[in-house]
Structures are given as C-alpha cells and as structure tokens.
Symmetry: C2
Subunit: 427 residues, 2 copies
C-alpha cells in the first residue's frame, strides 16, 4: 500500500478536525482507497497549543520543516486571510507541493495568480473545502455535471447568516439580537463583518461561477448586499407572503451576459432552498442535461470542512487531481467575464410601501407601478397602524434598475410617508 | 488536445441523450476538460433506427466493430436486462475496454464477477448513471465522503414510484389510476413490475451500500416491499398525521449489523425527502464527519442519465477513474455482508386499527400495545363510518418483529374488525 506523507499548516478548528479524522479513521481510508495517509509534519505558530490531540507528527513553527521535506508531496493549508496565508501557499507551490486549502478568500481574490503558479510548478491547488464545507459541490459542478451547460446557481453559502435569519424568524428577533445569539453559540465570530455583509458568500459564488463558466470573475463588480439591514418586519412580512428571506447567492447565465449577485432574497416556501435552516448550506443548480440538482448539508465546522479537505487529499494522493488540474479549463488562462450591471438584473421583487391610510392610495400605487412598467403579481394592503397603511407588492421578473426608479419616483412623489423597502424575490 | 474514441452499445433513449450532448456540447467538453470526445462507433440491433440523429459514427450491428478497434479505449454500455447485457459487457472487458454502464441490475446482481474480471483485465467499470441519473451520488459517496463512516442512507431512488405516489396524493387517486396516468405520460413502462415492486430501488440501494460499507450485499436477503398495495386511505391518513408516503430505500449501519430495506414509508413533512416530488429522486446521507448531506435531482430520463454517463466517460478518458478502480476497496475481493433479518429492524411504525365504535376500544388497544412493549408516540381515533372507528397509532422506534406480533395478537384477539394496516415511519 502506498504511504503518502502529509504536511499541515495551521492547527486551528479545521486542522483539529483533520487530525481527529486521521487519528480515528486512517484504517478506513486505507481499506477504502488503498492509501496510507500519514500526517508527518504540522506547522503552527504556537506548538504548545496541541488541542489536546495526540499525533505522531513533528510539530514545527518553521514552514521549511515541510518545504524542505521531499517525502511530503501534499500540504493541507488551513490559514485564514489573504496576506500571510497567500505567502505560505505560494511558498508551498514553489517548493513543488500540491496544496489543499479551505481559504475561499484566497482562491476568489488571487485564484488566477495562484493557479498559474501551480500550473507552472506542475502541481495542483484543491479547494473543495472552500465552498460549502461538507457538501461536495466543487466536485459535483466540475466533474458530475461536466457535460452540462450550467444555467443558474443559487445558494445559501454562509451558515452564520442562515443561522441568524433562522433565529430572527423563529424568535421574532431583530438582527442585533439574533447576531448576539449566534456569537454566543459560536456560529458567528466576534467580528462577523465578512459573514454578515455578504463578502464570504460572494467569494464562494465567484469560485463556483469560475468553474461553471470558465471565466475570471471580477469580484469588485459583483453586487453584494448583506443581511445587516434586515428587520423583524421584513422577515415576518415575507413569511406572510409565503416566503422566507435567505442571503442568496445567485448566478445566472443570461443571453445578455452573466448576472451575479449576493443579496437577501425572498425564497418561496415550496422552493427547496427555503427549507435550508440554521447553519446549513444549500446549492441549487440548473443545468442543460441534468436539469435541477440540489445539494444541502453543513457548510462549516471542524469535521464537515475536514471531510472536504481529506477528500481533496485523497484526490491528490491517488493521482486523480493531477489528471484534472493539468487539463481543466477553469484553472488558468481565463479571460475576465463582464458581469451585467446591477440595474440590468432580471429579478422578481418585493416592495413594502408605507402610506397614509386613506382611500385611493392603493390604486395610485398600482397605477404608478403599471406606468413604470412593473408587472405586479400580487398587491395588497397588509396592516394598518394608527393612520398608516402598508401596501405589499410582489412583482413578476423585471429589470431591477427600472423598478428602483419607479419606486423612487413613488417615494419622491409623496405617495409614501416612509422610504419604500425593496427586496429581491427568487424564482 | 487528446482525442478519445468512444464506442456506444445501444441507441435507445439514453443513447440518444448521449448523442445529443456530444453533438451539441463537444466544444464545451473540449474547453472544460481538455478532451476531444469522439463518438466513433455505435453498435445497435437495428441500424435503421437512428432516432433522427446525425452522428459521424460508424453504425454497426456486430459488437466486433468496437471490440476489434484498438483505437477505442472506452465503451458506453446502454443495454438493459442481465443476460445479453451481461454478455456484451463481459465481451468489452475481455477486449480490454473500459466500460461505462447505466445498468443497475447488472451491477447489483453480478457486480462481484464483473468487477473481478475488470480488475483482471486492468480496466474499469464506471456506473454513476446506474443510481439516481443526473445526481452525482456515486461520486459523492465514493470520493466526496471518502473520509466518513457512513451511518445511514435513505433515498427515493425510483422516479416511477415517486410520480405515482405524488399523483395519488395530489388527486386522491388509488394506485391503479395513478399507475395508468404514469404510463400515459411515459413515467411508467407497460410492464412496470420491476419499478413498482421495489426491485429497481433495491438494486440501487445495494450498489450504494456496497460503496458505503465495502461489503458484498446479498440481494436475496434484502427486505423489499413495493407500492402496489398502497391505497388512497394510506396516503390521506399519512398526510393527516403530518407525513407523506415514499418508497424509501433505507440502509443503516447499526452496532448489531447492517439493516437494508425498501418499503413504503411515512416520511415526516419537515424531512427534506418529503419534498422530493413527481419523478425526482433524493438521497439523504448521514455520515461521521460531514453530518447530514442531501442530494436531489432527476433520477432518470435521456439527458439526466446521459449527463452521468458522460461524467463517467470523462473520468475514464482523463485517466482519473483508473486511479480509483485500481485501489478502491469496494470493487473486488469483498466479503458478503450479513444483513439483519427483517424482524430485527429498528423502525418507528404507523398502524391503523379498524375497530367497532364502542367505548373502551381505544384503551384496550393502547393497553395491548403497551403490554407488547410498543412505545406509542401518538394515538387517536381518526374517523368514524357507520359503527366502525379507525384508531391510528404512531410509535417510537421499536423492533419490527415484536410490533408485528403485537398487532397480530390484537387482530386475532378480536379487538379489530379488519386486518390492521402497518407501515414504517422514517426518523
């Protein structure tokens, strides 16, 4: 049986998960795929923090312990951020090591440079763990659906946001209260910015889109909205209308161009993504031959992420990944894709108009929407408090820019007494 | 770019799907994975039936047109049944060809013999298309979850049955009416036996279990119940109790042994498999590191199945599959697994007792169940017609054999006026 020595950089939560699985299930992996995976060297900043884990590995602080070891062909890279993490990954590639990483920001922001360097060095960067942890979505998109033109991807890709939204709905809480609970339970970090503002989701969407459409995705021109401004009223209104608000990553390959966005979105309750609750992730793919495919599972956490990391390690150690990286088009030499501007987005919308409670207002709003070219699916007067009424509208798919202009004209025209709330609605 | 010549045996529905995709998306496949897939030769019984498809392929009736062609390394085998189909597959292996097949019966019934021959010949048999068509579940289980001990698999693996059950619920129809509709719409064959009696589902379950637990699954000792005896009352009662009846394939790795079964099963409405409707398939996996994973999509049809076939062709043509078959434990040399007998099954149950509508009967049934050791979750008197009442019970998980004995004793003891209906309920 072939023994494969592995280097590990970073002994944090996910690193601990990798050690756990190798400690417990090395025999299973030997039996299952004929590989003896040997964790030989761990490089960590503080070797005294061993997470109460026993390993037979050498623990070092200097990356050279891995780089200079010709016996180690593959390095598990579990370092966050895009500065030091990038230097470490580059050093591994330059030393001729295959790299398995869970760092989505690095792949999304510096993928071109890193994949090009890897190709030049004749090694691969595997990154299943970078998107949706325990769900093998990278492999499904790259290999399982290889014979499909991908028509759309919609996904819940950030467990922190999904947990917060689930709590807001279940408890009737506002955003701040739900965030505090998520932090208390360890589902959100002390500084949750990159999760709640949609950046993390955008990184993952960019990675999926790169594989699906073989283009370089310009992160800076992605439409990204987070969940911070969502209120208990938004959540409750959506529910009344038969929908649930999710932080949805959406990519659609339209005849006019590629449309990518991350935004809080009303998902109809009978859509399978609406049932993805708490810290779970879910990805719905629509493709030319397979049709609709849905994958759900745990997107983060020590063991789910370690599961993906080790799947990649096996892929590299078995030699399979080399047959992929050497030939697959999405790695290197990509042209940048021009994304459709946000105004050109084609989406159904939800709008909540706050108006004075007097006769004729609903008709006036309906007329204004109609004159603005917005095709209304449902409109009704939802609640009345004091002398105010709330009119809620769901539209058919329309050009987002035009709809926003129409709504702005309604607001400035004096029909409303508070700024109108507009959210996207998924198909 | 590497050109790979492909042979195709069988130009039926799925074969037509393969031709469609290659005709339309060969450029995409070249760009995506650097392979020029060239459909060189089609072997079919009736070369005049070209399905109105243009191909550049040579069309022949004699398998030698493929076997004797050294330029063809991989053969797509789309022949049903287990007799001629087996001979054809064996001939391909003996000629040193890799084989991609969608034939689940062949793999489930003759997998040992075929995998052993393939290993001897130094070639591989790929079979992603054999289970759940467009859903890449074989790859997810084999590769994506390679670092996981699989705890359970539950799946809706037969689109015909799921379509019939969906129609029964939607229209309030009986089984025969729904079957007729499924046949009319092409979702069921003229002779639907192997679909509706659970055999097809059992084949797929056996294949998944083989990969998950690396054992030879004795098909003959599998518990298999079909959907033919389900009534409109069963479907409606389940719905009232917050569940939906699915033909569920279940595999659980219990400390006592492996439990495999195919049976109509009440699935709670909030379980994601309950939302898998019409002809869709769905597989829920529970595993040691990734936790819960769910995959849903289309399990059959020309294009979804062709999508899986071509994913396998790419896997073989890229050389990746060879790195798998050469080493993976589930292919050859397996020990037969002893399955737990049906009586030892641990499952929650639903029971519908038909009784005379007189005081004390509910208490008598509850007492009999309690004396029999059945832990009841809910019990209530559901409907009354004339002088009869119906008492419906949902139990906690219990030993199936004991529960059936208890129910039989209730029936023979005269508490009921008609045979009691017992169905399994999923977790």
């Amino acid at each position: 049986m072939r023994r494969v020595a592995i280097g590990l950089i970073g002994w944090g939560t996910v690193g601990g998960g990798v050690v756990d699985i190798l400690n417990r299930d090395a025999a299973l992996l030997r039996e299952r795929c004929g590989l003896d995976l040997w964790l030989k060297t761990i490089v960590t900043r503080d070797p005294s923090r061993t997470r109460d884990q026993r390993t037979g590995a050498t623990v070092a602080t200097d990356l050279r312990a891995i780089l200079d070891d010709p016996e180690i062909p593959v390095v598990i890279h579990l370092v966050g951020g895009t500065t030091v993490a990038k230097d470490l990954l580059v050093a591994c590639l330059k030393a001729g090591k295959h790299v398995v990483t869970a760092n989505k920001a690095l792949i999304a922001e510096h993928g071109d440079e890193l994949f090009t360097l890897a190709a030049h060095q004749g090694v691969g960067i595997a990154f299943e763990a970078a998107v949706a942890g325990g769900i093998p979505v990278i492999a499904a998109l790259r290999d399982g659906l290889v014979a499909n033109r991908i028509e759309s991807i919609s996904g819940i890709l950030n467990g922190t946001c999904n947990f917060i939204l689930t709590k807001m709905e279940a408890e009737g809480w506002g955003y701040d209260e739900a965030l505090a609970e998520a932090q208390k339970l360890g589902y959100a970090e002390t500084d949750p910015t990159l999760d709640v503002d949609g950046t993390d989701t955008a990184h993952k969407l960019a990675i999926l889109a790169r594989i699906a459409w073989g283009g370089r995705i310009p992160l800076s021109s992605l439409t990204i909205e987070g969940i911070q401004s969502l209120t208990a009223t938004d959540i409750a209104s959506a529910k009344t209308l038969g929908a649930r608000i999710k932080l949805l990553a959406v990519a659609r390959n339209r005849p006019e161009g590629l449309e990518l966005r991350v935004a809080p979105t009303l998902v109809p309750l009978d859509h399978p993504l609406a049932s993805v609750m708490k810290n779970a992730n879910g990805i719905a793919l629509q493709s030319s031959a397979a049709g609709p495919t849905l994958l759900t599972g745990l997107g983060a956490g020590a063991l789910p992420t370690a599961s993906a990391v080790l799947a990649d390690v096996v892929d590299v150690a078995s030699g399979r990944y080399q047959a992929t990286v050497g030939h697959y088009g999405f790695f290197t030499g990509l042209q940048p894709v021009t994304l459709l501007p946000e105004a050109e987005e084609n989406t159904a919308c939800y709008a909540r108009f706050t108006v004075a409670d007097r006769p004729g207002v609903l008709a006036a709003i309906a007329t204004a929407l109609s004159n603005g070219g917005a095709s209304v699916q449902t409109i009704y007067q939802a609640t009345t408090t004091h002398d105010r009424a709330v009119i809620e509208v769901m539209t058919h798919p329309l050009r987002l820019g035009s709809f926003r202009q129409t709504v702005a004209a309604i607001d400035t025209g004096g029909l409303t007494v508070a700024p109108t709330r507009v959210l996207r609605k998924w198909l």
